[in-house]
């Protein structure tokens, strides 16, 4: 989702971008990365828009600011919504990507998207994920033409980041509100509270919606420690794939070959020499001694 697909008129002017995230901590729902960008010349007017860290704003105020910034022709924005299933999958996959890695990739994806639209980005402001200096180096290497400012609490220091945080937060809240529960047949209510693992309402919801085999509805991030603890003692699932992998691994990096790769080929001589005993075949064929042939 982004402001509009058309490249804004001011795209060729040097621009700055702010990036912030919403829903990193909660055990359920998507994680949303949002960005906002505008010409550097417009920066001074940004302050007058009263953007502040989205967490300090009331929900109605956030919605109002969001609707306003959508109308502002000098502002562009985009969001990246990361599905909880994607988070779980990446964090639990064999080659794991941790949450910081996912966050970095999402932020870089947003920058790339804006650059690809033809916007001339020269400065970027981000709230840090992990070590600020390492993050800054990683970003600078990927986008050498952009000056990066990575700092803690960027969302309260830079209005452009505050704007991005509003975009992200509103998108997440709406996504959660309008979440389509895919699991049918189970009674799923929406009283999951804030979604933070510490919230008693969230805890109760998780316990209520726990399934002994399938775990939780797909809204939940299975990779969170909270889930692991809750699912302890439930039904263990033995995966066939794991078993073959176990027997296949070991000390060497060798792969078990199949006989077919050594010229052990199916031949049809049987059908000529030996007739099928006809077990289990239709009486019609048996009585008439009709055989299946593949070669004549």
């Amino acid at each position: 989702m982004e402001s509009d697909c058309l490249t804004p008129e001011w795209a060729s002017q040097p621009c700055l971008i702010g990036i912030d995230e919403a829903g990193r901590g909660p055990v359920l729902g998507p994680m949303v990365y949002g960005c906002m960008y505008c010409p550097i010349s417009y920066q001074s007017s940004l302050a007058s828009l009263h953007f502040a860290d989205s967490k300090t704003l009331k929900e109605e105020k956030r919605e109002e600011l969001y609707e306003n910034l959508k109308l502002d022709k000098s502002l562009g924005w985009a969001v990246d919504v990361i599905d909880p299933r994607e988070l779980s999958a990446k964090m639990l996959a064999k080659n794991k990507t941790n949450l910081n890695g996912i966050s970095h990739n999402s932020a870089m994806g947003l920058i790339k998207r804006v650059l690809d639209m033809g916007v001339l980005l020269t400065e970027a402001y981000l709230d840090t994920v992990g070590d600020p200096e390492k993050y800054r180096i990683k970003l600078s290497e990927r986008f050498p033409s952009i000056k990066f400012v990575v700092s803690k609490k960027a969302d309260s220091l830079f209005p452009i980041v505050s704007g991005a945080s509003i975009v992200a937060k509103v998108t997440r809240d709406r996504a959660l509100r309008e979440w389509l529960v895919e699991e049918t047949g189970e009674d799923i209510n929406r009283n999951f509270g804030s979604g933070y693992p510490g919230d008693p309402e969230t805890k109760v919801w998780l316990v209520q919606h726990k399934h002994s085999v399938f775990g939780f509805p797909s809204l939940v991030r299975f990779s969170w420690g909270t889930c692991t603890t809750l699912l302890k003692g439930e039904v263990e699932v033995a995966w066939e794939a794991d078993e073959t992998e176990e027997s296949g691994n070991g000390s060497s990096n060798k792969r078990q070959a199949k006989l077919s790769s050594f010229g052990f080929k199916t031949c049809d001589k049987r059908s000529e020499e030996i007739e099928s005993s006809g077990k289990g075949r239709c009486k019609f064929f048996q009585a008439r001694k009709i055989q299946q042939l593949t070669q004549f």
Partner: protein
């Protein structure tokens, strides 16, 4: 009409024990030359080929070529009901859907008939390519069985290397490594205890011990086992069935992981 009478009934019992772990269902093919079976394991890594020539039977009658699909587990259950000294006769009618195993006690005072339902099996009959083997090792079968059992407690893969010095079986696992070297030894009292190594070229191949261990179930059939190896070919582990034929196991080696096939 099929009627095969085997005086040494225990032989058939042993044959079944040596293949039923590897293959669940298989077609037994009967022709005028003999009673045979060829089947692959479910993962298509190993193949077992059995031949019991007609001359080995006291009485062998096979009017037309017949292929009988059997569940080897069930067949083994029935054959377990035969005494070790019993004479076993296999009987089937053309076009029938059952096979009968008749067990006669040596003194002829007890006769048992077991009739088993046949099944229709889609078998892939494989052509086994002719190959020249670089190295052939003949050794006591119980020694080979012991080596496979011992190594599988350490690792899951055995590397069999044949050099001028002898044949080496080695493995590596989480707890450590193991190497067993056997040297050629023909100066023994009994010929079946000899270790004979015919090497044209040195070879070294890796195999899954899990399969090797299931092959050694054929140890009671023969005092010696012959292992034929060629680089980049499946190994052949052969047990002779006294004056009747053989049971041969083919096993595809484990090969180096190719980078580009890695997902």
């Amino acid at each position: 009409m099929l009627e095969l009478r085997l005086v040494q009934g225990s032989l058939l019992k042993k044959v079944l024990e040596s293949i039923k772990d590897l293959v669940n269902d298989a077609n037994f093919d009967c022709s005028s030359t003999g009673f045979s079976l060829q089947a692959m394991d479910s993962s298509h890594v190993a193949l077992v080929s059995l031949l019991l020539r007609s001359e080995g039977f006291e009485h062998y009658r096979c009017d037309r070529n017949l292929s009988m699909g059997m569940n080897l587990g069930n067949m083994s259950k029935m054959l377990k009901c035969a005494g070790n000294d019993d004479i076993i006769t296999i009987k089937a009618d053309d076009g029938g859907d059952t096979v009968t195993f008749m067990f006669e006690s040596p003194t002829q005072d007890k006769i048992a008939d077991f009739e088993m339902k046949l099944m229709d099996i889609d078998s892939e009959h494989l052509g086994i390519p002719d190959a020249e083997y670089h190295s052939i090792v003949r050794m006591p079968s119980n020694e080979f069985s012991r080596i496979c059992k011992d190594l599988s407690s350490i690792g899951d893969t055995v590397v069999i290397s044949v050099t001028k010095e002898g044949v080496k079986f080695s493995t590596a696992g989480d707890i450590g490594t193991a190497n067993i070297v056997l040297r050629q030894n023909t100066t023994v009292d009994k010929p079946e205890d000899a270790i004979v190594i015919e090497m044209k070229e040195p070879v070294s191949l890796s195999f899954a011990l899990r399969y090797m261990n299931s092959f050694t179930k054929a140890t009671p059939l023969s005092d010696t086992v012959t292992i034929s190896l060629s680089s980049e070919l499946p190994v052949v582990v052969e047990y002779k069935v006294a004056e009747m034929g053989y049971i041969r196991y083919y096993l595809a080696p484990k090969i180096e992981e190719e980078e580009d096939t890695n997902p």
